[in-house]
């Protein structure tokens, strides 16, 4: 059974120079107890995708078509009030910057107690639950630290608190929006391990957004590669990391500093920029930066090819291979 199912989702932003097509025909599923990673460079639509799932898009965003099913409910057609009964109950979110994630004038304890406002429990019980959760995320001495303010914690600790708060409600789906980007490498590993461990305990699914390929490989079961508002490749971690089919995915791996073994003067990059999403180019979205471009790419939008049962990619080269 899938927890979240996004079907052919297209979202655009109204701008002065015309509609900016931030997402185009995005479809994917997140199964129960699965961790799905989304990779892609800045501006590829990751934040828009998250915003649409939690229904907190900017005012100028328009859902052009598509559906998002969470359990059995279509989020797109749900009212804001009904959505509030899902958020913080069945879906919770961890954001990128732990330094900004907490109210600076309330103690951690006050915030963690407050967030349980839906439960009919005594304050003491809520406090105990908060302490329990902090213990679970590896906070030392939580009994006394709940009386401290956010600025008295380090970045790593604050992200742990954010994770504790998000998991407090035992959600069915946890959305993590680049939760380790603001942290250093050692902390990143710790947080990732903690997340993995907690996911097993709580039995939730995780939608994990990152541009750090190593983290994705470590944590996720499935990977979705996004480029300029489209899913260009998706599949299991093993498929994507060992047999990337789309030129963009291959280029991403070539640029991963973790895979560069020789000292070199210049780091490899993908030349060019993301195309203008207001005036979409004809044909393949990646053609201008692609090293394996063929004639077909110029005016024909590639269709999604199934390589193996779950491994898909959107590229003309695959059509040639399959023939």
């Amino acid at each position: 059974m899938s927890v979240l199912s996004v079907k052919d989702l297209s979202i655009s932003y109204q701008t002065d120079s015309g509609p900016l097509q931030a997402l185009r025909g995005v479809s994917f599923d997140i199964d129960d107890n699965n961790i799905v990673g989304i990779v892609g460079e800045s501006g590829c639509g990751k934040s828009t995708l998250i915003g649409s799932i939690i229904k907190l898009l900017d005012n100028n965003a328009i859902v052009e078509k598509g559906e998002i099913f969470f359990q059995d409910k279509n989020i797109i057609s749900l009212s804001d009030d009904d959505m509030k009964d899902i958020l913080g109950v069945d879906i919770s979110v961890i954001f990128q910057d732990p330094m900004q994630a907490h109210n600076p004038v309330l103690t951690i304890g006050q915030q963690m107690i407050d967030i349980q406002y839906r439960d009919k429990k005594s304050k003491k019980q809520k406090q105990n639950h908060a302490i329990e959760m902090l213990q679970l995320v590896g906070m030392p001495d939580p009994e006394s630290r709940i009386y401290q303010y956010p600025h008295e914690f380090s970045g790593g600790m604050r992200q742990r608190i954010a994770i504790a708060m998000a998991l407090m409600v035992k959600p069915a789906l946890l959305i993590a929006d680049e939760p380790t980007t603001a942290l250093d490498a050692t902390l990143e590993v710790q947080i990732i391990q903690k997340l993995k461990e907690l996911q097993k305990n709580i039995h939730c699914s995780i939608l994990f957004v990152s541009h750090h390929l190593g983290v994705i490989a470590e944590l996720c079961d499935e990977v979705i590669v996004m480029y300029a508002g489209e899913i260009v490749e998706s599949g299991s971690v093993r498929d994507i990391f060992h047999r990337p089919k789309h030129p963009y995915t291959q280029a991403l791996f070539a640029c991963d500093p973790g895979r560069i073994l020789e000292k070199s003067k210049e780091l490899p990059t993908i030349e060019g920029e993301i195309p203008n999403l207001i005036n979409l180019p004809k044909g393949c979205i990646f053609k201008d930066r692609c090293s394996q471009r063929i004639d077909r790419c110029d005016d024909e939008i590639p269709s999604t090819h199934q390589i193996k049962n779950t491994h898909m990619a959107k590229c003309h080269l695959l059509a040639r291979e399959q023939k």
Binding site: I54, L56, M83, K84, D85, I86, L87, G88, V89, S92, V93, F95, Q96, D97, Q100, A101, H102, N103, P104, V105, L106, D114, I115, Y117, E143, S144, Y147, Y149, H151, A162, M165, V169
Partner: protein
């Protein structure tokens, strides 16, 4: 681990700051003398006693008596009560209206924001004294007129500060996090925005009380505030002004408390600013 309430912590830190301590004690003295004025005054402050008129200080009249023989010390103490009677409801009214309007303007839709800002600017564009003159000319001078005038003219001050603070908090990530947990707007405003605004507002209030008391004194001095025989510091100053050749004591009795109140509340306000913010707390400037 200590489990003091927020107020206890703030008080403890306030006492560590010498200015804060002085300010706190001056303010306490003003409040206590206003509350217990009935027991403190040696004479009825509006009781005429012609044979003592324009007396200097003596054991029977600590600060002398005015042109009608009323005891100046008693009038000074009662004047403090009048000052607070104006200041407290005014602050309460202005802050509550300012808070509500400011938060709505900051958090609500753009068009509502524009309307409220227009309302603030309209109120603001009246010069306080001119506005006061107009209102007094319409409804006549009284204590409640003064309160109304000052509330009306100070709403924009609070409203604007609240709106700006709300705007800056609104875009911070913890509000987004709270929204992503399904919190309602009222809940976000109450639990997260309000506590973040309260600090700056408390400081503003402490700094504003002397202004309001001064305004009341000023309006009374001009004869548009409280009416004789009710004692007010402004009335004392007014009487003293016309009798300056006969006795300096009326000016002193009206002026010194005004100065002290201003100093006390200003010290308290400055100290509060550092103490209320958990981040600045305990750090020496």
């Amino acid at each position: 681990m200590k489990k003091n309430s927020e107020l206890q912590i703030i008080f403890k830190h306030l006492m560590r700051d010498p200015l804060g301590m002085i300010g706190f004690f001056i303010v306490m003295i003003i409040f206590l003398s206003a509350i217990f004025a009935d027991w403190l005054v040696p004479y009825d402050p509006i009781q005429l006693n012609i044979k003592d008129r324009l007396q200097g200080p003596s054991w029977s009249h600590l600060l002398g008596a005015d042109q009608l023989g009323r005891d100046t010390f008693s009038r000074m103490i009662m004047g403090g009560r009048v000052a607070l009677q104006v200041a407290l409801p005014t602050i309460f009214g202005a802050v509550s209206i300012g808070l509500i309007l400011g938060m709505i303007a900051g958090f609500g839709p753009r068009w509502l924001d524009n309307i409220i800002i227009l309302f603030f600017d309209t109120l603001r564009s009246f010069p306080t004294v001119m506005f006061a003159l107009a209102v007094v000319a319409l409804v006549g001078p009284s204590l409640s007129t003064v309160v109304f005038i000052i509330i009306a003219t100070s709403i924009p001050t609070y409203g604007r500060v609240v709106r700006t603070q709300t705007l800056s908090i609104k875009s911070s990530e913890f509000i987004l996090a709270e929204k992503s947990m399904g919190a309602s707007t009222v809940r976000i405003l109450r639990v997260h925005v309000l506590p973040n605004i309260l600090g700056p507002i408390a400081v503003l209030v402490a700094m504003d009380i002397p202004t309001i008391i001064g305004l009341e004194a000023g309006l009374s001095f001009l004869g548009m505030g409280v009416r004789p025989p009710t004692p007010s510091w402004g009335v004392l100053l007014n009487d003293g002004y016309s009798l300056i050749r006969n006795t300096p004591w009326l000016i002193i009795a009206g002026g010194i408390p005004l100065i002290l109140t201003t100093l006390g509340f200003t010290f308290l306000g400055e100290s509060l600013r550092d103490v209320i913010d958990p981040k600045l707390r305990g750090k020496k400037r």
